[in-house]
């Protein structure tokens, strides 16, 4: 269905596309990062495309991920892009749907923001920044949306410890024993 979209984007923005995929009826365009805004603007404004509904924006952390059959030595490394930023778009007029993906490395985790085109991506990009630490250039108000400002790190990255907590408040009124008994241990921790 959206093969038309793939063909049209390939025809109009051949230089901006790394490659395309089709998977389970969903068409995916891997876009070069500096061309993302141009491709997205074209998808929105071109009357034969008219992608008017933003569905979601998220990110995939490919740390340690490798496809089946690839030996461990060829796993994703520092110089390979670790993150995939994903934009899903839909055209309610032509009933197209398309997925844009941008590969981003860990050291330069920046992507142009699409919030100026589709305002609904404002909070979605904030969530992606909150959870994965992707900086969206040109975003009007890029700050944490779910977590508190005191939180350090990005919890949905694969290298965040799964049980690490960053409490805001803890009890300060735990019961203390008011009666001081002489300790049965000496200074070295041995029983007297």
């Amino acid at each position: 269905m959206a093969q038309k979209v793939l063909d049209a984007v390939k025809a109009s923005h051949a230089a901006a596309i790394e490659h395309t995929e089709s998977q389970h009826g969903d068409e995916i365009i891997w876009v070069k990062r500096d061309q993302l805004l141009a491709v997205a603007t074209w998808l929105k404004t071109e009357p034969t495309m008219a992608f008017d509904a933003p569905v979601f924006c998220t990110c995939i952390d490919r740390l340690d991920w490798r496809p089946l059959g690839v030996p461990p030595s060829q796993r994703w490394t520092e110089d390979k892009p670790r993150f995939e930023v994903v934009y899903q778009l839909r055209s309610t007029q032509h009933r197209f749907r398309i997925r844009l993906k941008v590969a981003v490395s860990e050291s330069d985790a920046r992507v142009p923001s699409l919030a100026s085109l589709w305002p609904a991506f404002d909070w979605q990009e904030r969530e992606t920044f909150d959870m994965y630490g992707i900086r969206f250039d040109g975003h009007p108000d890029l700050r944490r949306i779910y977590l508190y400002d005191e939180f350090v790190g990005y919890p949905l990255r694969k290298d965040y410890p799964k049980d690490k907590r960053q409490p805001l408040v803890r009890r300060d009124d735990l019961p203390i024993n008011p009666i001081k008994r002489p300790s049965i241990f000496d200074d070295h921790g041995k029983a007297k």
Binding site: L147, R165, L168, V169, D173
Partner: protein, 180 residues
């Protein structure tokens, strides 16, 4: 130090008997007029509604009246998952309640964090506030809640709630400091 249980002096005996009867009376009054503040954050709230509804009817035990101001309540029911972001709010609600006050952790999430083991869930409401009775279950049956309420009423009657014990502890510290 403290209250002498055996005494031959008539006035001491009368004083002890009077204070003890007063404690019994206030405990009796408190346990049958619990005003609960439901701090409902998650799906356990459905079960809380079931307990408060006519079928299981928490009103039979005098705790029927949920107050939506912590200043008018003396039983805080932490119903559902508490996140780390909610910790300051929960502590503030608890601090605003009038003494003496009691806390029930409703469900495993409020008791221990439940099946969440991650960055955002507080491992139990007792990380922030003292909890008197824990109710396991995901969500707990209404019978469990009623059982916990009866357990809490026993504690209130015998003066073993957290805030009551804290008062006694502070009195003990004060008297021991007065005695030197």
């Amino acid at each position: 130090m403290g209250v002498e249980l055996t005494t031959t002096r008539l006035e001491d005996a009368a004083k002890w008997a009077k204070s003890s009867m007063l404690d019994k009376a206030t405990g009796w009054g408190r346990k049958f007029s619990l005003f609960s503040y439901p701090f409902v954050t998650a799906c356990c709230g459905m079960e809380f509604m079931s307990v408060a509804g006519p079928k299981y009817d928490i009103a039979r035990f005098g705790a029927e009246f949920p107050r939506f101001s912590p200043r008018q309540s003396d039983l805080l029911m932490v119903v559902g998952t508490v996140t780390e972001k909610q910790g300051p709010a929960l502590k503030r609600v608890f601090d605003q309640m009038a003494e003496p006050k009691w806390v029930i952790a409703f469900g495993v999430c409020a008791s221990t964090g439940g099946f969440y083991q991650n960055y955002h869930t507080m491992p139990g409401a007792d990380q922030v506030i003292p909890v008197d009775v824990y109710i396991p279950g995901c969500p707990p049956r209404p019978e469990q809640v009623l059982d916990a309420l009866i357990l809490l009423m026993d504690r209130i009657q015998s003066g073993r709630g957290h805030s009551q014990l804290r008062d006694k502890r502070e009195q003990l510290i004060a008297t021991s400091q007065d005695e030197g």
